[in-house]
Amino acid sequence: MISMKMLEIPLQIFRYREGEPPHYDIFTVQVADTAHVIDAMDAVWATRDRSFTFRRACHHSSCGSCSLRINGVEKLPCITRVMDVWDGHAPVRLDPLRNFPVVSDLVVDVSAFFQRMSAAGMTITRSAEPSLPLSVDDLAATGVLSRPVEVPESLSRFNRFENCIECAICMSACPTMATDEKFLGPAGLAAIYRARQKADNPSDVAHLLGLADGEHGVWRCHSAFECTAACPQAVDPAGKIMALRRELIARRFKVAARAAAVVPRTRNYSAPAGPTKHGGNGA
């Protein structure tokens, strides 16, 4: 047996029930020192209070359902170690995501998030992407270098899921999102960017860029870069928003140039532009 050091960790948990004022409850639970925050939440539910509600499914940062705020900062409790957020004394505070209606305790209604993702229409599978290294962080950091990879005969190419796990953390971190329910939001815009990269039909491209260009599209971003800082999956939504802006600005100038031409040759401005510089690593 490998010995396991147990911790008595206090959690200060946001509690809310419809029709009642919200409050915090403090629970002290026992978890291993290697445990993640989700394990401590599990212990609260299993051993302290069965009425405690929270969202979770995969416990390995794939489903995106358990997102919440730990000591005020958006995180996935399934990949956040207790020891990394606990100072050894003060309770670890758990709050629901911001900018979403709270349903109960740590459960928020994420429908506004999924409406945006549906509007962007990005499929979660991606193809024609480089294969290894497929890591969130550069493999070089781990001392392993990539090599060219052959694709099995049965496949035309490897495919994998998009980095975005739809955890909605970015929408909670974004200051504009606090007041503007019409804003497409970081994940929605990053998804539009990815869908635009995958689109091969000019009318699809025009539609996607049209979505991004609305008053509540990319131009509602005011460069706080909180989404990119909070994203657990290195999607870099702010970077994608800026890449979309670049393309929109280029098109704006093209439109202006055509309007200025003495004889306008065509009214179709929707020819696809080349991929922008963030082409390689998408959402």
Partner: protein, 129 residues
Amino acid sequence: MATLNYPKIRRAGRWFDVRRRRLGMWAYTLNRITGIGLVVYLYLHLGVLSLLARGQSSWDSFVSLARSPFYLGLDVVLLAGILIHGLNGLRIALTGFDVGVRAQKALFGILMLAAAVALIAAALKIFGD
């Protein structure tokens, strides 16, 4: 506390909530505060300039008042707002054109350092005269 369907004006408080946030949020908040402040100042300034239309005596009496150390101090505050807003605006413009996005934090740091240096120099000049 979570957002429990508070009215929008209360939620707008989050624009200025930098607790446990990163540098980008400070930039966002500072830009908003200075921006709103400068709009208010602009209209105050235009209002004061109407004294010019009332003739020499009204203006010159205002000028002698405005040369007091208190008003000079306000000038330094104004200048600080202008420098922060203007230089951070350059960061927003650049990143908005997809330039220097990855270096936005460093960019903000350098620009704010420049703002601080310029402000100190200007304050010395203003009070030195």
